[in-house]
Symmetry: C3
Subunit: 110 residues, 3 copies
């Protein structure tokens, strides 16, 4: 048994939980905060058989891989004179996950 | 030194904390969410001597064991005609805990 | 790779995070609760190279060491007759941290 501890962005958490559950894995979600940016993020605990760690990591990689995303700023900022401008799409980098795999000496379900 | 990581239902958390403290064990509580039901639950961290893991697990088993509980639904649902019905007691399964025991290489209190 | 799990007082968390980031360490903060006092505290996860554990522990010791602090109660309690008294400074013990160092079998950044 291993305990996979994964820190990821909040926006990837629902998809990752769904993908893990769909593959029959169990997970527990903790709300966390990044030490550098001080932004909210998500820490997942996934207990799985040793032989399944590879597949769990593949699922994390697929859902959380760092990628470029085009976002269009939601609110065009209108200047004080009332004129507004058309928001241009902007490319930002999202995703990413930091994963620690710990050995579990004993696993018990009561 | 071992670190016992236990995921349990919110309603068992106060009793489990009390039972651990009464036996002289120290614990830290984290709020968490289940990956499947997406309901709030509790994750406890209990650092204890290797030889005490058995007793900590016994306390967890005693407080969190899966059991049938008779609950009477709180709000009788009154139909649109204004008539209401007597809520019947219902048996539901509660409790349960998922526990991971991790080895601690070094323990320091500052 | 090791995972340092440190439980500390909320008031030391910002300074400790800053000190770790300044030294190039990465950290994730979880909100937690003490099992005995039931007060809010902070649990930090710091993944670092094995050879760096000593320095991370030194930083935790420096920021979180148990110390006497003089506090002056904020609100002078005025009696029902309207008379109030000058709050005297009081010495309280603050700080402290409980730290578990866990071995990381595998570390992956996606
Ligand atoms: N070794 C480790 N131990 C424990 N938790 C870890 C960790 N490595 C990463 N994390 C967690 O993962 C989040 C994202 O890290 P990432 O490296 O993708 O993305 C990081 C990284 O690109 C950058 N960053 C972090 N620390 C930095 C530093 N000291 N100097 C420069 N850039 C830093 O800022 C992003 C956000 O960092 P933030 O701390 O807010 O949030 C981090 C932190 O919560
Ligand atoms: N290996 C593991 N790694 C990390 N955390 C773990 C874990 N096993 C259990 N947990 C945690 O413990 C909670 C209760 O699990 P339990 O197995 O008693 O009770 C579970 C189980 O009876 C059922 N369940 C969970 N996943 C399922 C799935 N993929 N298919 C069918 N039933 C599932 O739903 C209940 C609630 O699950 P939920 O995920 O909301 O909440 C889970 C989760 O937070
Ligand atoms: N082995 C362990 N495993 C997991 N978490 C641990 C731990 N040892 C300490 N902690 C965490 O660190 C916090 C501070 O512990 P500390 O020993 O400095 O300071 C403790 C200690 O001086 C005292 N205390 C705790 N448990 C006690 C007990 N059973 N009997 C007497 N005093 C206790 O009350 C203070 C606050 O305790 P609280 O539980 O509220 O909060 C604890 C708890 O969240």
């Amino acid at each position: 048994m291993k305990l996979v501890v994964a820190v990821l962005q909040d926006k990837d958490a629902p998809d990752l939980l769904q993908a893990l559950v769909d593959s029959g894995y169990r997970a527990t979600k903790l709300s966390s905060t990044g030490g550098f940016l001080r932004e909210g993020n998500t820490t997942l605990l996934v207990g799985c058989e040793s032989g399944a760690v590879g597949e769990v990591l593949d699922i994390v990689k697929k859902v959380c891989r760092t990628r470029e995303q085009t976002v269009t700023p939601l609110t065009p900022i209108s200047g004080s004179t009332g004129e507004s401008y058309v928001p241009y799409p902007v490319e930002v980098t999202v995703g990413g996950a930091t994963v620690f795999v710990l050995d579990v000496e004993r696993f018990v379900q009561v």
